[in-house]
């Protein structure tokens, strides 16, 4: 791309470095009230009485609402199993029972405490395996009556089951020379954006505007419309600057409750989460997993069969997790050539905060287990773990777990480059080692739209439904339009963040912004380009086919003096027909697969434009304390064609450090009452600047065929960087200590305990 060479400064950058940019919690309005929630007092209980009278009587309280004050609507993207407020039962500690709007936070808090709720406590289910045992207490007794997508396979506490079957795994396993079976457990963890959730709602007549820290404004709009029974046209979601998301702010959260409060109070209402609430009620956290993996290999190192049994934690309600079992099953099969595969994955209801997409959902945990398992198998074979992967990794023409045939991929190249970048095999001190892990991740093809208009002075504006969450994906859209229009990216303004302005987009989720909205912006830019050329042909009295558009002007090929600039064309257009482009490119087709033997098919039976990643990590392990320091990371990604190197590198740097956090320290612990024991940053420890190592980044350029991927053959970039990091670190730890850590996060205590066995 012509503009890729010079540093591209993001348009929202100056607003952010000066502190002038507004985030949702920074908004203030005349008469604005503050919202507080009353959460469940139990992780599992029947509600026998709710009395809000004392709270209502408190001076300064304008609204107290419960399930009685909103339509009785169940919602959920795959399974409609929840309400805005608990009605008969509470199923996790962060469930909402009531909400208050009051003059100040202090009054609202006092009012919340004055709400009387009586409960009849029920047996708590917090362990995923116990949840699926026969006779386990049902979280949702009425599960069978819930509305749900027909492809979701459900039974009692198993909210979504999915299987992958390829070949004859029993026969394959019987033919293997060596069979290795292992069990791994991953604890739940969190997205932890530095900005906690915030929502402001204000009504104008029967229409509501909601400012929300959401990654997905259109999905939030549809959630509000569904639960408050409003037409979507009556709900406008505006997203001020968004202080990170990582999936934690995907889907529909508290927009409807705050809007309901504002309607009752007849005042604007603001909700700002504390960090504690961000842990207890994020409504989207990374799910825990239990994984049993079994692999059969021949002496030559080829894998003949893989079996897997996975149980994922859904939490108390279904956010978007019902498609996780199928995704996790693909992850457990891995980017390897295996003729015989059976993976059986379930999603168990438990009395914990709901799971949902957090950066590459299911993948870092499943990859961590699988890649440790791969090293274990290599160990049993007496084979170098890199050599073992080299033998089995998928290449062009190979088939995936559902017989998807891979084309234009560079998985093996990522492995070679990563081991080269880290210096695999070099002499190291005896408390250091290099671990390697390979991962993969799909791109998501989803409908998306954009407009491009040329302003009267020849500058331009992109109007998009895409949402920026910090990655810079929206900020980079002008690069794509500028190239098509022969303009500078700096001459574009961007309008996004507003559901009443841009066309639909599924938001800052699924690494999909450039992939889908990038194509839409290019289509819109091409639409305007055609209009510019038509107009120029008229103005220059030239044949349209003889024209070329570059460097801000249209000229006749071969006679550069015969030209008209875009500003001149824009001025002319503003005297007659405006230059307005629209774009909504078709969604790429899913690659063919044979999923005949698979159940619970929710769109993950093949991977569109899959990205492949190898991380090689050099770690130092303090054998006496179990403290692990990551010294150096080589991260090599094949993401098709990279369009914006600064942005792409930023995603890798951030994702790797998130992966280090997941590997070493990030996990929520639950008490016997199923309450989180560490819902604060002192004991849920993120990586600091001093923990973060140098990261060597490599890109394997392997563009998809036109129509099979994103713009110019690109693939999703944002999520993959955290996928293989925990597995690579695990393998380095095992190399140093000789002991495998079977639970994630691999805290110092767990590393130490593994060494005591």
């Amino acid at each position: 791309m012509a503009t890729a060479e010079k540093p591209f400064i993001r348009q929202d950058g100056k607003d952010k470095v000066t502190g002038l940019g507004r985030y949702t919690a920074d908004l203030d309005m005349t008469g604005m009230l503050q919202a507080k929630f009353r959460y469940s007092d139990h992780a599992h209980a029947r509600i026998t009485r709710i009395d809000t009278s004392k709270a209502r009587a408190l001076p300064g309280v304008f609204a107290v609402i419960t399930h009685e004050d909103v339509p009785d609507v169940r919602y959920g993207p795959f399974v409609q199993d929840r309400r805005l407020f608990a009605k008969h039962k509470v199923r996790y500690e962060g469930e909402l029972v009531a909400a208050v709007a009051a003059l100040t936070n202090e009054i609202a808090q006092r009012a919340v405490e004055l709400i009387e709720v009586d409960y009849e406590p029920l047996e708590i289910v917090s362990d995923v395996e116990a949840a699926l045992q026969p006779g386990a207490p049902l979280l949702h007794e009425e599960w069978a009556s819930y509305g749900a997508s027909e492809d979701v396979v459900r039974e009692g506490n198993d909210c979504s089951r999915s299987t992958i079957l390829k070949g004859d795994p029993d026969k394959g396993m019987a033919e293997a020379d060596i069979v290795v079976k292992e069990r791994y457990v991953a604890d739940m963890s969190h997205a932890v954006p530095i900005e906690p959730h915030a929502v402001v709602a204000q009504w104008q007549g029967d229409r509501v505007t909601i400012w929300s820290s959401t990654q997905v404004p259109f999905i939030a709009r549809s959630g509000v419309a569904t639960t408050l029974e409003l037409p979507e046209a009556h709900v406008r979601i505006v997203v001020p600057h968004l202080g990170g998301g990582f999936g934690g702010k995907c889907e529909f959260h508290y927009e409807a409750q705050v809007a309901a409060l504002a309607r009752v109070a007849q005042r604007p209402v603001r909700l700002v989460f504390s960090r504690r609430e961000e842990f207890l009620a994020p409504d989207h956290r990374r799910e825990g997993q239990v994984l049993e993996l079994e692999t059969g290999v021949r002496r030559d190192g080829s894998i003949v069969a893989r079996r897997g049994r996975l149980i994922l934690d859904n939490g108390a309600y279904s956010a978007d997790a019902p498609f996780f079992p199928q995704l996790a099953a693909m992850m457990a099969a891995g980017p390897y050539k295996i003729e015989n595969v059976f993976v059986d994955a379930s999603l168990a209801y438990t009395n914990t905060t709901p799971s949902g997409s957090v950066r590459a959902p299911t993948a870092p945990q499943a990859c961590w287990a699988l890649e440790q398992h791969m090293d274990s198998v290599a160990g049993q074979l007496g084979m170098d773990p890199v050599e073992f992967r080299r033998l089995n990794i998928v290449k062009n023409g190979d088939e995936g777990p559902t017989r998807q045939v891979f084309e234009d991929i560079g998985a093996a190249e990522t492995l070679e480059r990563a081991v080269e970048l880290i210096g695999y095999g070099k002499e190291l001190p005896d408390d250091e080692a290099i671990g390697v892990a390979v991962g993969w991740w799909p791109s998501f093809g989803i409908a998306s739209g954009a407009y491009v208009k040329i302003n009267g002075d020849g500058s331009a504006t992109i109007i998009t439904g895409a949402q920026e969450c910090g990655t810079g994906a929206v900020m980079a859209l002008p690069l794509l339009a500028a190239e098509i229009l022969g303009m500078e990216p700096e001459s574009f303004s961007l309008l996004y963040q507003d559901t009443d302005a841009g066309p639909f987009d599924s938001g800052a989720s699924g690494s999909q912004t450039t992939f889908n909205n990038g194509r839409a912006v290019m289509a819109a830019a091409n639409d305007v380009r055609e209009q510019l050329l038509d107009l120029a042909a008229e103005q220059l009295e030239a044949n349209r086919d003889d024209l070329e558009l570059k460097d801000g002007a249209v000229s006749v090929k071969g006679s550069p003096t015969k030209s008209v600039t875009i500003p001149e064309l824009a001025e002319a257009a503003h005297g007659s027909t405006l230059l307005l482009g629209r774009g909504a490119d078709a969604v790429p087709e899913m690659p063919a697969s044979d999923a005949a033997g698979c159940t619970g098919r929710l769109g993950m039976e093949s991977f569109l434009a899959p990205t492949f990643i190898t991380h090689a990590v050099r770690c130092k392990v303090d054998r006496e304390t179990g403290v692990v320091r990551v010294l150096e990371v080589a991260a090599v990604h094949e993401s098709g064609r990279v369009l914006n190197p600064i942005g792409a590198n930023g995603q890798v740097e951030g994702g790797v450090v998130m992966g280090i956090g997941m590997a070493t320290l990030e996990g929520s612990l639950l008490g016997e009452d199923a309450r989180q024991l560490n819902p604060h940053l002192l004991d849920y420890k993120l990586q600091t600047a001093s923990d973060s190592p140098p990261i060597h980044i490599g890109w394997v350029d392997s563009p998809t065929k036109p129509g099979a991927g994103g713009p110019k053959g690109s693939k999703g970039i944002g999520e993959p960087p955290c996928v293989p990091t925990p597995g690579a670190i695990a393998n380095a730890i095992a190399q140093v200590t000789g002991a495998r850590v079977h639970q994630l996060p691999m805290t110092p205590a767990r590393v130490w305990e593994a060494m005591q066995r």
Binding site: E624, D683, K685, S690
Partner: protein, 305 residues
């Protein structure tokens, strides 16, 4: 947060006057305000801010030792060459409290009177025989740090008493010291296990050893059995190991989100051993970076364990 009244004292007498009527002192706020925000304890009803009381500031040398004003910050201690040379374990401790912002705002007086069993500076102050001066409207008394702490968050100080300074006698020649903490991250940690060693060598013999353990019991305390194992010894590895094991044996750790009792007890031995070894290295005149803890975990740029 519930505070109702506020005065800003400009002298110790003004502060004591406010405290006599029930006000609680506040300096950097890094314990009190954080605790109130986190829901640990609401702010006291009446506050007297002491940050302007200049007589409480600074670190000064006086005959026979060093005096830390109650308002001396952790950053002040780390910047003090006397503290680093003579009371190295204290500098080790102050240098790893929270972040840089915590160290510039957090004072030694607040740190001590907050009486957390996980406070970094407690072990070093106890081992160095620090003496706290407690003043109230009715008089002044001096309390050895060993006698100050009575439980988590509790001290022998009466409600009207203000810690004005800490006096620490200069250690004998041949003394080296170290505070070592278990660190999951390289910064922003809280002590899960900590150990202090102050070792005085006479030729090759340990003449005096002080060992204290942190976050391993309701209060930070010295461990006599560990000290006995070292005293009179030749500071050999065997003696150091014996002392470290004795420290672990004397610990009464709890199991919580930060670690199991079993792990903490095992780490008590490891950290105590590392603290003693480093103290001995320093007593022998060897250089070891301040703070010691990061280097003792095999830090990226640090020395050997």
């Amino acid at each position: 947060m519930s505070a109702q009244s506020y005065t800003a004292a400009t002298s110790v007498d003004e502060a004591l006057e406010a405290m006599a009527t029930g006000a609680r002192p506040i300096a950097g706020g890094t314990d009190l305000v954080v605790g109130a925000r986190g829901g640990k304890a609401p702010l006291p009803d009446a506050l007297v801010a002491i940050h302007r009381v200049s007589e409480l500031r600074g670190i000064r040398e006086q005959e026979g030792g060093l005096v830390l004003g109650a308002l001396a910050t952790h950053a002040d201690i780390v910047a003090s060459s006397s503290a680093c040379e003579l009371f190295t374990a204290l500098a080790d401790a102050s240098a790893i409290v929270g972040s840089h912002a915590t160290r510039t705002a957090g004072t030694i007086g607040g740190n001590v009177m907050n009486a957390s069993p996980a406070m970094e500076t407690g072990g070093p102050l106890i081992c160095f025989d620090a003496v706290a001066t407690l003043r109230s409207a009715s008089g002044t008394r001096r309390v050895a740090l060993t006698d100050l702490f009575t439980g988590p968050g509790r001290t022998v100080a009466e409600p009207g008493e203000l810690l004005t300074e800490l006096a620490i006698p200069t250690p004998k020649d041949g003394t080296g010291s170290c505070y070592a903490r278990l660190e999951y991250r390289r910064q922003m940690e809280i002590a899960i296990v900590g150990a202090t060693a102050v070792v005085t060598l006479d030729g090759g013999t340990v003449r005096d050893a002080r060992i204290a353990i942190t976050a391993l019991a309701p209060t930070i305390h010295r461990v006599a059995e560990a000290e006995q194992a070292l005293n009179g010894s030749d500071a050999s590895d065997a003696a150091v190991h014996a002392a470290a094991d004795a420290a672990a044996g004397a610990s009464r750790p709890i199991s919580d989100v930060r670690g199991s009792a079993q792990y903490r007890r095992a780490m008590a031995a490891v950290l105590t051993r590392r603290a003693i070894s480093t103290a001995i290295t320093r007593a022998r005149g060897g250089r070891f970076p301040i703070p010691a803890s990061p280097a003792l975990h095999g830090a990226v740029n640090g020395g050997a364990a």
